[in-house]
Homo-oligomer: 384 residues x 2
Amino acid sequence: MKKKYLLTPGPTPVPAEVLAKEGMPIIHHRTTEFSNIFLKVEENLKKVFFTNNNVLLLSSSGTGAMESAVINLMRKNSKAIVLETGVFGSRWGKILQGMGFSPIILKEEYGNAVSLEKLEESLKENPDVLAVFGTLTETSTGTVNNIKEIAKLVTKTDAVLVIDAVSGLVGEEFYQDKWGVDVVVSGSQKGFMLPPGVSFISMNEKAWKMVEKSDLPKFYFDLKKYKSKITEGQTPFTPPVSLIVALDESLNLILKDGLENLFHKYKKMGSIIRESVKGLGLELFSKNPSNVVTAVKSPDGIDSGKIVKLLREKYGVSIAGGQMDMKGKIFRIAHMGYMDKFDLIIGISAIEMGLKEIGYNIELGKGVKIVEENILSCNGCCSD
Amino acid sequence: MKKKYLLTPGPTPVPAEVLAKEGMPIIHHRTTEFSNIFLKVEENLKKVFFTNNNVLLLSSSGTGAMESAVINLMRKNSKAIVLETGVFGSRWGKILQGMGFSPIILKEEYGNAVSLEKLEESLKENPDVLAVFGTLTETSTGTVNNIKEIAKLVTKTDAVLVIDAVSGLVGEEFYQDKWGVDVVVSGSQKGFMLPPGVSFISMNEKAWKMVEKSDLPKFYFDLKKYKSKITEGQTPFTPPVSLIVALDESLNLILKDGLENLFHKYKKMGSIIRESVKGLGLELFSKNPSNVVTAVKSPDGIDSGKIVKLLREKYGVSIAGGQMDMKGKIFRIAHMGYMDKFDLIIGISAIEMGLKEIGYNIELGKGVKIVEENILSCNGCCSD
C-alpha cells in the first residue's frame, strides 16, 4: 500500500471526482445524452483556449493532433519553419519530415527560448512560408516561449502560426484569439488533469482557408470531417467516450477555479520552486523557465537518472529525468494540473533526501524552508 | 435513476471490475510498472488474436488502426481490392481513396457476404494487387464473412489479406495464424468490453516485408516505430494509460472464460435470437448472419428509427438503427462482449413491447418464450 506521488509533466494526477466520472457506466456516443455532454465540453474548451473557434476533439495522443495540423495545413512542396527549443519542438520537424517536407529548422541551444530576431529574419527571407510550428512550454527543457511576441511577427505575414500547447494550456498564460495564434493543439494528460487519449485542435479562419487548399492525403485526421460534425455534438469516428465524460468534470473544476486564478497560482508555484532549488545550490537548466515544469541541472558527477530512480523506488515520488541529449544531466519536477503547494513541499523534500543519500552535500530542510516561507508570505495565493 | 441497458454493437457494457480499474489513480507510462502491465496485455492480446505476431496498441479509434494498415502496407500507385459488404467495408474504400488510391471495390448487395468466386476472379485478373481489405463481422448489416476461405484464396497470391475485426474479435470464431490472415485490426469497445480509445494491429512476416517497401508519408501511425518499442513494453507516443490498465483486467476476464467457450456462447446466443426474431414473424436482414449482432428488417411501414427511439426513451434499452442506405429499414441488437442470456430476454422483450406500442400486430411474450425454451434446452451453454 505504498503511497505514490506523481510530479511528472504528464500524465499528471487525476482528481478523484474526475476518476469517478471516467469509471461511470459507458454510454453510447450516437445519442443526445452524449451529444449534450460533448457540446458542453466544446463550449468549455473554448473558454480554456480563449477562443471563439471550434475546438475539435480527436481520439489520439497529442502527437496525433500535431500531425493533424501538419497534414491539414500543408501543401505538397510547400515551406514551413520549425521553432525548435527542445524535444517537442524537434517533433514538429520529424512529423514534417515524415510527411515528406524539408522544413527550415530554427534550432536554439536547449534551455533557451525562441529567438525573435532569427524568426523575423527567416520570415523575411522566406515570404512563401506556409506555416510556423512552435511550442508554448517546452516540457523537455522546462522553458516557456514568448508566443505573444512570436504571434505578432507571424500575424504580419501570410503564414499561419501553429502552437503545440500540450503541456502549457491551463498553466501558462495563453490567449489564442487575443494573441492571434492561428492554430493551437493540446492534449488531455497535463493541465486538463485527465488520462491520455484525447487531444484537441483549434483553428481560426485564416487556417481553415489554408485547409481548403491543402492537398496532402488524409482520412482519420481529416479535420474537415470533424468540423462538419461538431455542431451536432458528434465526431466522424468513435470518440473516447469515457475520457470525454471525465473531461466534462475536469473542465468544471478548472472553470470553477477560473483560468486567471490558475495562471496566477502556477506562476507563484513556479517562482517558489525556482527559488527553493537555487537556495539548495542547484542550477536551473532553462534560461526562460516555464511556470508548469522546472528543469534542474544534476550536480556535477551525479547521473540525474539515479536521482529519479531512487525517488521513485524508495519514496514513491515520480519526477522526470532528461530526454535525448539531456539524459542523465537534468531532472524535472512538474507543477501543473492537480498539484498544489504541498506537492512542492513533497518534491523538494524528496530531492533533498535523495541528493543527500546519493552523497551530494546538502542541508536537509533548507529548500523546504524556502517553500514554506514563500507560501506564508504569499498569503494563500498558491493554496488552491 | 432510470436503469439503462446497452445492447448496441459498440460501445458495449463495461464490467464493473474493468470500470474500477479504469478509474484507478493514473500511473506514469515511462515506468517499469506500466511496461509490465503493457507486456502482459500484449501477451494476452496474442492469445485473443490466436497469433504469434506482435499485437501493436495505438491511441485511436478502430478507424485509426485501419488507416495505419493502409499507409504502412501500400505503395504509391499500387493496387488494392476492397471487399465491401456494408458500411465498414466501404470505409476501407474511403480510406484508400483519401490516401489517393483507386481501389478495386467488390461490392455485394448489403446483407450478403463476400463472394469467393468474385474475389478469386479479381485476384486472377489483377496479379499485381498489393493488399485485399475485408471485414470479419460487418456490423452494419449483421453479416459474418467467411475469412477462413477468403484467406485460402489470398494466401496463394503475393497480396496480403487485411481484416477489420473491430466488432468480430472475441465473439466470432477467428484464428489469425491458423487461417493465414496477414493483418488484423481491432478496437477496444466491442468484444473487449472497454470504452473506445485504444486500437490494435497484428501483422505477420509477409506484411512486415511489405511495410519495408511502403513509401507513403507517415508519422503518428508509422507502425515500425510501435514495433521497435514493444519488446520494452512501450509505445512511441503517450499511450491511453487508463484504458490499457482496464484492458489488462478485461483480458483476464476473457481468458478466464476461455475463447473457445466464448465462441460457443455467442454462437448459441446468435442462434437463439435469430430463432426468436423469426418466431415473432420478423425477417433477418443478413443472408449470412453474424453471431455477435443481429440485424432485423423493420416491419413494412414502420420506420426502424422510431423503434430505436422508443426503446431508448421509454425503456432505457439501447439498440441500433440502420446506417446509410439501411437507415429506417433495419434495427440491430448486439450480443457481444459483456452480454448474456438475460440481455437477449431484455432485447426481445423490449422489441415486443415497442412494436406493439407502435401498432404492429404482435403476440407479447412469444419471442421471449422462444428464448427461454432455448436457454433451458441448451443446458446452461449460454449462461456464462
